[in-house]
């Protein structure tokens, strides 16, 4: 038997390092026809807000070379409907549940964390800081280390659940962001969220997305994601979850090799709804072939050139 378990925080041990990425796995049970939710390390829900959110008008998505742009605009059913309609099913399926959430002000984040903290069956929170802070004039929490740290510290005070902070890649200094949120009390860091991109339609002479810009995800961004995981791990000691362009076990193993304790699968779920379970199985097969008995031995085993 190969030990695939990984620990992301005190009290957050996953049976394997394969999680799903927020916004690409619905609220989880949509994938039950394709895989067993309890075979995954964890299910990360669509990002939740206090109240239901309509998101952006369509068109919302566009394919790009080896990737896609989305401007869903954080549409979600709101925390109340989630707790009522979705969480019980996830519990019944014995899924490890990570709730991704966001707000438009620190107060909203804090209030939401408080609500989620009281709820049984939630294993961890993932705080999405790639959101405009309406009070700071729409600047993203995720692009300013001080703003991000303030947010994380405020949420940290509100909950004893394991706290994952999800970083935006649209910054000059990703390691600086990571250090800031780690010092503010995040147990763990996940990265990357989408790179901001744009597509236009020559036919109509207009942007493809109603929102003009959107988030780029998929294999196209994998090299950027790997680099950021690498840079962050040079600066922080807390566990890091690698996200970005993973569509195969080999992709996932690359992130683990660099040092990610777990990975999240995003866009890949759309193309093959069973891919997350297949990746978990593929990681196990790879380790068996190499006679590595614990995934933790493989994690971070990257050998750097001497000059580094």
């Amino acid at each position: 038997m190969i030990d695939l378990s990984v620990s992301l925080a005190p009290g957050l041990c996953l049976k394997n390092p394969v999680m799903t990425a927020s916004g690409t796995f619905g609220y989880g049970r949509e994938y039950e026809p394709y895989l067993e939710l309890d075979q995954l390390g964890a299910v990360v829900t669509k990002g939740l807000s206090l109240l239901p959110k309509a998101g952006n008008p369509p068109p919302r998505i566009m394919e790009t070379p080896c990737g896609m742009l989305n401007a869903i605009g954080l549409e979600n059913i709101g925390v109340e409907a989630f707790l009522r309609d979705e969480l019980p099913g996830l519990k019944a399926a014995k899924a490890t549940v990570v709730v991704n959430f966001f707000g438009e002000t620190v107060d909203e984040y804090v209030e939401l964390a408080g609500i989620l903290d009281r709820e049984a069956g939630i294993d961890a929170l993932e705080i999405n800081i790639s959101c405009p802070n309406v009070k700071a004039g729409g600047l993203q929490f995720g692009t300013d280390p001080e703003m991000a740290a303030g947010l994380v510290a405020a949420v940290r005070r509100q909950t004893s659940l394991p706290l994952i902070t999800k970083l935006s890649p649209n910054v000059t200094d990703i390691a600086g962001m990571a250090v800031a949120v780690a010092e503010a009390g995040s147990d763990c860091i996940s990265l990357i969220n989408t790179l901001t991109g744009m597509a236009v339609d020559l036919q109509s002479g207009r942007p493809v997305l109603a929102n003009v810009t959107g988030g780029l995800s998929g294999p196209a961004i994998k090299p950027v994601a790997l680099r950021m995981v690498y840079q962050v791990l040079q600066k922080v000691k807390i566990p890091v979850i690698g996200i970005g362009g993973i569509t195969s076990a080999r992709d996932a193993l690359e992130f683990l090799l660099v040092g990610a304790t777990a990975v999240q699968i995003g866009t890949g779920n759309f193309v093959n709804p069973a891919v997350a379970a297949e990746i978990a199985a593929g990681i196990e097969a790879f380790l068996r072939e190499r006679s590595i008995s614990r995934v933790s031995e493989f994690i971070g085993s990257l050998q750097l050139p001497e000059s580094c």
Binding site: P33, A54, N269
Partner: protein, 272 residues
Amino acid sequence: MILFHSTVLQRETITPDTFSIRLSCPKEFLQRFNPGQFVMVDVAVSSHLDPLLKRPFSVCRLRDDSFELLVKAVGRGTGILQQVAAGTVLSVHGPLGNGFPLATITGKPKIMLVAGGIGIAPIFSLLNGLLASGHPPLELIVGARTAAELLCTDELRKRADQEKGLQLSIATDDGSVGHHGLVTELVSWQLKSGGEKPVICACGPLPMLIALGKLAAEASCSCYLSLESRMACGFGVCLGCVTRKKTGDDRHPWVKICQDGPVFDAETLRLL
């Protein structure tokens, strides 16, 4: 909805930019299928990572161990399918979406099927479904820009000849066959000609569907429209394919075309 590897059994050119493609499938797929449903088909053959996303296509016809798509080559994905060799294995996901509400439709005194261009694909599967079971009188109205772009007309004519309860009308924008003008003009005349109120089932370009919805509302007919949208997932998880519903509020304005549709009662949508 199941995920399966499907072998390309046959690919046939119909017009320079349309072709049919026959794909193998498990029995379970055929059993679950409802006319109007669609499949997501991988176009990234041979381990290419690009194009990344599967493409949605309405199932046009069921066979014993396979199904057929009718595809118009409009871009990269459909262009690749147009070249695909028999024997190629593609990943397929389906049947997806709701399909036409057969029980409701067959309960009406008359059914009008309307197809514009490549929109014939789901209408063809609906027609076959209706012909296979009992059905009220069927009016089939198909249109295209020009005679050469009309799809399946030989076969449709044969059906219309064989089947008493089925009447076929054709419209072309340039008048090269049938009515010189739009299918919606034919529909409008039919609706005004009196007689039983039909239920309309339609697929085609969005402007056609919008016009049909209006005509149906004016005539107080039920009207089911099969919509399209770019899709990333095809099964309700990406939220990429929404369109506005009529009764929505600010916090819940959408339906998902892939999951709540692709077939909608026109009355429930705010298409413009």
